[in-house]
Symmetry: C2
Subunit: 478 residues, 2 copies
């Protein structure tokens, strides 16, 4: 059904956006009554059903509420939101990594069905085009001479690489199929790229906080990490990075520029260009994890560092795991001048990637279904991000700081310093609630009073109950 | 169709086997005329069609031939076969590995459709149960609440691990589902296991010759390899290994005991027990690549080292890639006391394995289809091994030495010392024929006059033409 909605839905969206702007600018204030649906319809010269749709959209974002027998009221204004967390201030050191045991403790119960899981940065299944993907699987089996039982090219299916190349057009990329290497998810892409550009003992610069799986990879390859201060809106501090490169003899850089996990920050495109330029002058490879890039809440897809890469020093990594089919484990990298090295490592460690999943994803994209699906997914995630955000604002203590993600899946929450997030995780687990404590997002034991929640699951009474329970644990902290 | 044949085919098999024994013992000699079908039927008290089936089975193995208007004649005796290659005598050194470029040259054209590919040790698609696997995929999608879009357990699907545990019964194993880790093919299993038990700079003992992908893994982890002499019938030389362990401070051992690639050797089970015992006394972990173990040509499945593992020091690795579904990339390891280390590495480098492929394979096995399929696959491979073997005997120069594989996919051929196998590979490629030259099976540049061919593809005029062309290139060598 969802996929059938077309772009003729413009009118209600436009009306809703104008009302949203009025709320943001406090032309309409919290508690104000809105026009009746009938009055709105008359005033705007739109049908009753379009007027209803506009209010419904605002309601689903949590900006207005319907009061029985009375009408619609403004419920929420961005002016009332909590402060942002401060830009991070990690220690200025190159450190070996040792947060492994904590991560294992957080993720050991991941697949327990009863867990209310705020710790997985992934979309709920109901947000995915299940029926159409199943059709794509059936198609792929029918169209393949071998029913996808053959070993695929080590570099990946040609049909899929073509589609990944086409998709790159959205961020200003024009890779040929020969520039792309398909991998078993984005983590394999990152693993191969890190290994391709470093040797044990090298120092690598990363954002702080950083997705913990990246620390684990660094640890596994015997690398040191240098954590660079990162702003929850604009991303890594380029000046600081430039100084760190000299001081720590940094050999590579790894960033999640678009909707950083956990911060949700998005580096503005002109800063990306500056970052690429600065690193190119020093001949330092930049691994770019763009796994969330398509999941933007703004008007356009943000560009990538690869967009500005003239020397082939950017190793772009992406995946369909966060936007289409987590269980298929299909990712890719566009590794520039490191392609041969990446391919050689791929051959050594996992050979080719699953043929059937590659063919199914290629089929889905060939039929133009991905763009349509992404539009719906972005809307849903945006709405969910606002709902979760507001619930945290409403229930958590006054001194809580919260990020405003511009895309992706995650809220980063900074609590009063007396709260230890790893203990919070342990206590929440007793209530069957999973969160990702701040400690696992740094090698320095910082972010002790921070944690990450994912808003990948649609808003529901159970989710609301979970957030209230978390709030209660924090309120009752001792 | 093939899967419908049942075990009532015993009678003709039994008669054929008795005739085969007579040929082996030269009770029947090459050129001898066999009884007519009618006479055989009378003599043995079997139906005419059973007698026909028996001769047909012997003919398909290339042991007898039908001469028009005349009857069946003995065509081939094992007594007339070429000598075996000698047990290997690798240099007694711990060496870093550098055969990478040669391997890339051999495997760059792997997916070219026009190539007559003797270089892939894998089954032809027509030997696989394509239709039933497709049904298993459809079943898996229907039965899964998420249509297999969820991230699977990092350790692998519970249903699949149960089936792998059941299958292990064949070699005397009784692993629980919790002892097994599912991987993206056997290469990932080996990669994780090697990494789990070694550190860069360590020395690892392997067979000589050894499957080149294993060298590449060792190289990638910065390990040294010590190549141990290996017999083309009974496998690695345990006494030599024991001495090498002390001299080179060996930290781990990796063997392909069952139908070694490329030798086709199968270590007798009592030697396996001795090997495990010897290594256990020294607390040295043994990585066992059992990917070909189910593809035996004899009466029973050979045991594994894991069968005799009391201390949990054996890391058993297997896969469905060679026996069921190459493109699905589903393998596993039973890593004993190293399970936590292996799981941690799996989480770091590829997270979970494709959910759909795991569910499809589990479904296929649950329905008892795997055993039936394996019976047919073993027969087909045995027949193919004999056909290829005989063609090489027939067409190659007199001084050619050839292995007699007891299972698996590969013949290892030793040519006159004047022939350089890497040059042979280059020349064969001009005729669109792919072989695996001996040089890539050692880090010492030995086996220069050896090469490996796979008999995974059913016998055909094209295959015969390919072998004749290879023979001609060798005969015309200058």
């Amino acid at each position: 059904m969802r996929d059938e909605i077309t772009r003729t839905d413009h009118k209600y969206v436009e009306v809703a956006e104008r009302i949203e702007t009025q709320i943001e600018n406090e032309v309409l204030k919290v508690g104000d009554k809105l026009l009746s649906v009938r009055a709105l319809s008359k005033e705007q010269g739109i049908s009753l059903s379009t007027a209803f749709q506009a209010y419904y959209a605002l309601e689903s974002k949590g900006l207005i509420e319907a009061r029985p027998q009375s009408g619609y009221y403004v419920k929420h204004s961005k002016r009332f939101m909590r402060d942002l967390p401060r830009p991070s201030e990690p220690l200025d050191e190159a450190l070996p990594v040792t947060i492994d045991d904590m991560i294992n403790s957080v993720y050991v119960n991941l697949n327990s069905g009863s867990l209310l899981n705020f710790s997985m940065a992934a979309p709920a299944i109901e947000l995915l085009p299940v029926a159409k993907l199943n059709k794509a699987v059936a198609h792929a089996l029918r169209e393949s001479e071998t029913s996808c039982l053959h070993y695929e090219h080590i570099q990946g299916s040609v049909a899929l690489r073509k589609q990944i190349g086409r998709q790159a057009f959205n961020w200003g990329g024009t890779p040929g199929e020969n520039d792309i290497v398909v991998t078993a998810g984005c983590v394999e892409a990152l693993s191969l790229c890190i290994k391709a550009v470093t040797r044990p003992g090298d120092a690598v610069a990363i954002e702080s906080p950083t997705y913990f799986a990246i620390f684990q990879l660094m640890q596994s390859y015997g690398l040191k990490v240098v954590e660079i201060p990162t702003d929850p809106v604009t991303g890594i501090d380029i000046d600081h990075l430039e100084q760190a490169i000299t001081r720590f003899d940094i050999k590579a850089c790894l960033v999640v520029n678009n909707f950083n996990n956990p911060l949700g920050s998005c580096m503005p495109d002109d800063r990306k260009e500056r970052l690429v330029h600065m690193l190119a002058l020093k001949e330092i490879p930049l691994i770019e994890d763009d796994i969330y890039g398509e999941l933007y809440f703004g008007k356009t897809r943000p560009k990538t560092c690869k967009t500005f890469d003239k020397k082939g020093l950017v190793l772009h990594c992406g995946s369909f795991s966060k936007s289409l089919a987590p269980g298929y484990r299909i990712g890719w990298t566009i590794p520039g001048i490191y392609k041969d090295a990446v391919l050689r490592l791929k051959r050594m460690h996992t050979v080719s990637t699953n043929s059937l999943a590659q063919a199914a994803v290629a089929n889905f994209l060939e039929n133009g279904r991905y763009e349509l699906h992404l539009r719906h997914l972005r809307k849903a995630l945006h709405t969910q991000s606002l709902r979760y955000f507001q619930a945290v604002c409403e229930h958590f203590p006054e001194d809580t700081l919260i990020t405003r993600p511009q895309g992706g899946f995650t809220l980063w929450i900074e609590l009063n310093k007396k709260i230890n997030a790893f203990k919070l995780h342990k206590r929440a687990l007793k209530h069957n609630i999973g969160i990702a404590p701040g400690q696992i997002f740094s090698s320095q034991g910082t972010y002790e009073n921070c944690f990450r929640i994912s808003y990948g699951a649609p808003w529901s009474p159970a989710i609301e109950g979970g957030i209230k329970t978390l709030a209660k644990i924090i309120h009752d902290w001792r």
